[in-house]
């Protein structure tokens, strides 16, 4: 019964397990379900284990039992693209107006909803794919405005960068918050990072040390002597610095998200910083890298026992790493190259690693990766790599 329904759910992307399906049948067998409403409630609470999938479940349910149409993938895509266009519009109306060949002032009168509708219309209008063209919005073209394009002097609108040394990204994506929930479960990382602990006695002396109590009591000729001690607490300090800028990190966001989620839940004392490509004079406490800059040189004041974990693809144009004015941000001109700053960090924190989401076999193709590897021990952001990194971080220096 309802096997079709089960598979429709599965295909729609709701993680349903056969065990849960059997449980549902058990519920049906017990005569608990008398109406479609009952079935809806039962099926949802038994099969769906996260509110993230409630909406999807509702859609599939309506489709299966009432014949409602499933949202087709294409429609979703247009929606997504329209939304992306809106985002672009908010950031740089002039550029987009030019790309769409319309007057900027014409569009600026519209509300966001109207804009979305307008973009959708435009996207539908464009019936044939314009990938590779040079005028219209499309993917992989050489027009200065577009998606994943490679235009030597042009501006990048967005997309996944193909040649990683795209110089001077004109528009930083100012908001990419990794703390947003990712669909991955952190249980695998959990296993790998479990050993990253530093148990030290802390807090009030409120725990009875039984062995010591017995020993002292005996020594005291049987007169009871209770010995208290502090309980063990994890006091490991961790700094997590994440490269969240530019487009080159985009393909790895889900992986970094998982790490970030895990780290936030697990470590009591964790500081998270963000940087773009590599570290210059400042690193930032806010994901937008805007509001809360911290001078890198100030890091020397922190406890040197702190574990520093850098996360980034370490891929950039060599001069961004080596020259004194390599930063793409004008305000960062202290005269120290990024390479020096990185060396400074690794000297300040002897326990440090660099996690690279790029697979290890690809490392030798990027020059900057091998340069950074000479400063930080580099590990792949995979379960094996994490184990190695943890072992390295817990080493006695």
């Amino acid at each position: 019964m309802f096997i079709d329904f089960f598979y429709t759910l599965k295909n729609a992307g709701v993680p349903v397990s056969p065990t849960a399906f059997l449980t549902l049948h058990k519920a049906l067998g017990k005569g608990l379900v008398h109406s479609l409403d009952d079935f809806y409630v039962t099926a949802r609470s038994v099969l769906v284990k996260s509110e993230r999938y409630f909406d999807l479940f509702d859609q599939v349910f309506a489709h299966h039992f009432e014949g409602a149409e499933l949202p087709d993938a294409e429609g979703v895509e247009v929606d997504e693209m329209a939304r992306a266009l809106l985002e672009e519009w908010l950031k740089n109306p002039e550029l987009l107006a030019k790309a769409l060949d319309v007057d900027e002032s014409e569009l600026s009168d519209l509300t966001p909803e109207e804009l979305i509708d307008y973009f959708k219309e435009r996207l539908k209008e464009q019936t044939e794919a314009h990938h590779g063209g040079n005028k219209w919005i499309g993917a992989g073209g050489t027009s200065p405005v577009g998606h994943s394009g490679y235009h030597p002097g042009g501006m990048r609108v967005g997309g996944v960068s193909r040649n990683k040394s795209a110089v001077k990204v004109a528009m930083d994506r100012r908001y990419k918050d990794y703390s947003l929930e990712g669909p991955l479960t952190p249980s695998m990382m959990n296993e790998a990072l479990k050993r990253l602990r530093n148990m030290v006695p802390a807090g009030p002396k409120d725990r009875v040390n039984l062995d010591e109590t017995l020993y002292q009591t005996m020594k005291n000729a049987g007169e009871i002597e209770i010995i208290f001690e502090r309980s063990l607490k994890d006091r490991l300090k961790v700094i997590l610095a994440i490269d969240n800028g530019g487009w080159s990190m985009d393909p790895y966001i889900p992986m970094v998200q998982t790490l970030f989620n895990y780290a936030r839940a697990q470590f009591k004392e964790i500081k998270t910083f963000f940087f773009h490509n590599t570290v210059y004079d400042y690193i930032y406490e806010d994901p937008a890298r805007y509001k809360k800059p911290r001078k890198v040189s100030d890091m020397a004041r922190l406890d040197s026992e702190t574990r520093l974990i850098m996360v980034g693809d370490a891929s950039m144009a060599p001069y961004e790493l080596m020259t004194a004015d390599g930063s793409i941000h004008i305000e960062e001109r202290s005269g120290r190259s990024s390479l020096e700053q990185l060396r400074f960090l690794s000297e300040t924190f002897p326990h440090s690693v660099w996690l690279n989401p790029v697979p290890e076999r690809m490392w030798r193709y990027t020059q900057t990766v091998s340069m950074i590897r000479r400063i930080f021990p580099m590990f792949e952001l995979s379960i094996d790599g994490l184990e190695g990194a943890v072992a390295r971080l817990m080493e006695k220096s």
């Binding site: 397990s17 065990t19 849960a20 449980t23 058990k26 519920a27 017990k30 608990l32 409403d37 009952d38 409630v41 039962t42 609470s45 038994v46 769906v48 284990k49 996260s50 509110e51 409630f54 929930e181 479960t185 952190p186 249980s187 959990n190 009875v208 039984l210 109590t213 017995l214 009591t217 049987g222 007169e223 009871i224 209770i226 309980s231 607490k233 989620n261 839940a265």
Partner: protein, 282 residues
């Protein structure tokens, strides 16, 4: 609503929506724990109180703490009392019988209780995943070992188990596999009116409407760390009612006294204060 003083008045003070009632009944029939998620202050904890009250069962609450070990929730071996007894020998307990020094923890009490009980495991997300998985094993098997005396404790009556979680992240898969799941959404204004009716019978219509309107408007404020929830609204109305100078008309004008009852974080409070001040000017 864990801080509402109306702890055991339960069902008379809890507005149950029929969907949730169905889920509770199914979980009880399937003998599976029910995992409740939702924003803080949506009445997850209150539900367990309401169930216990309406079914006339005793309620046992296990408040999970981050440092908690599973054994503590099952039983405790009171070594110190035993040591003391063996030294002075003036107690009624038999020192050589360890069993007399075993005290049941919350889960243990729910298992050994003579009547069927409601076991509320509150804020499970605080503990680490090992604790969660091990606990589910115990709840699945409905028995556990007391290692010191090598005795198996079996549940006399299978308790009704309610588990709550505030976490945004999901619990582990094996854990979820053994629970039924429900997410309590934030009540809409219609539901909220019913809830307020239950808490303040005969509340002035004017005050209720304007308070609810102002409350939902304040909830829409962006970039607020902790949005006010039902609990805050109830306390707010209590505060408004106790102020003799207060008139519901003021709320409509955009004034919002006692903002501190609704917004507990200083950043949020400032933001809300700015918002209401700005509205008053127009």
């Amino acid at each position: 609503m864990d801080h509402t003083p109306s702890r055991f008045t339960g069902a008379t003070r809890y507005v149950l929506d029929p969907e949730l009632a169905g889920i509770v009944n199914i979980s009880m029939a399937l003998e599976m724990p029910l995992l409740l998620k939702g924003e803080p202050g949506t009445g997850k904890t209150m539900l367990a109180h309401a169930i216990a009250d309406s079914l006339g069962m005793p309620l046992i609450v296990l408040n999970v703490k981050s440092s908690m070990k599973l054994v503590e929730a099952l039983y405790q071996y009171d070594t110190l009392t035993r040591l003391n007894d063996s030294r002075f020998g003036d107690s009624v307990r038999n020192v050589s019988n360890i069993e007399e020094y075993i005290k049941m923890g919350k889960i243990g009490r729910a298992f050994t209780s003579e009547t069927r009980s409601v076991l509320l495991i509150d804020e499970i997300d605080k503990a680490d995943t090992d604790f969660q998985d091990d606990m589910l094993d115990v709840l699945d098997q409905m028995e556990f070992d007391i290692i010191e005396i090598d005795k198996v404790v079996k549940a006399v009556h299978r308790p009704v188990i309610i588990i709550t979680s505030n976490a945004k992240k999901d619990l582990s898969d094996p854990f979820l596999g053994r629970c039924n799941f429900h997410h309590i959404a934030f009540p809409d204004p219609k539901m909220m009116r019913k809830i307020l009716d239950v808490h303040f019978p005969g509340l002035d219509e004017n005050l209720m409407e304007s308070a609810i309107a102002a409350f939902y408007k304040l909830r829409e404020l962006e970039a607020v760390e902790k949005k006010p929830a039902t609990r805050e609204l109830i306390n707010w109305i209590r505060a408004l009612r106790s102020d003799p100078d207060f008139k519901p008309k003021k709320l409509l004008k955009g004034e919002a006294p006692f903002l501190g009852v609704l917004f507990k974080k200083s950043g949020d409070y400032q933001r809300a204060a700015e918002f209401t001040n700005r509205r008053r000017l127009f």
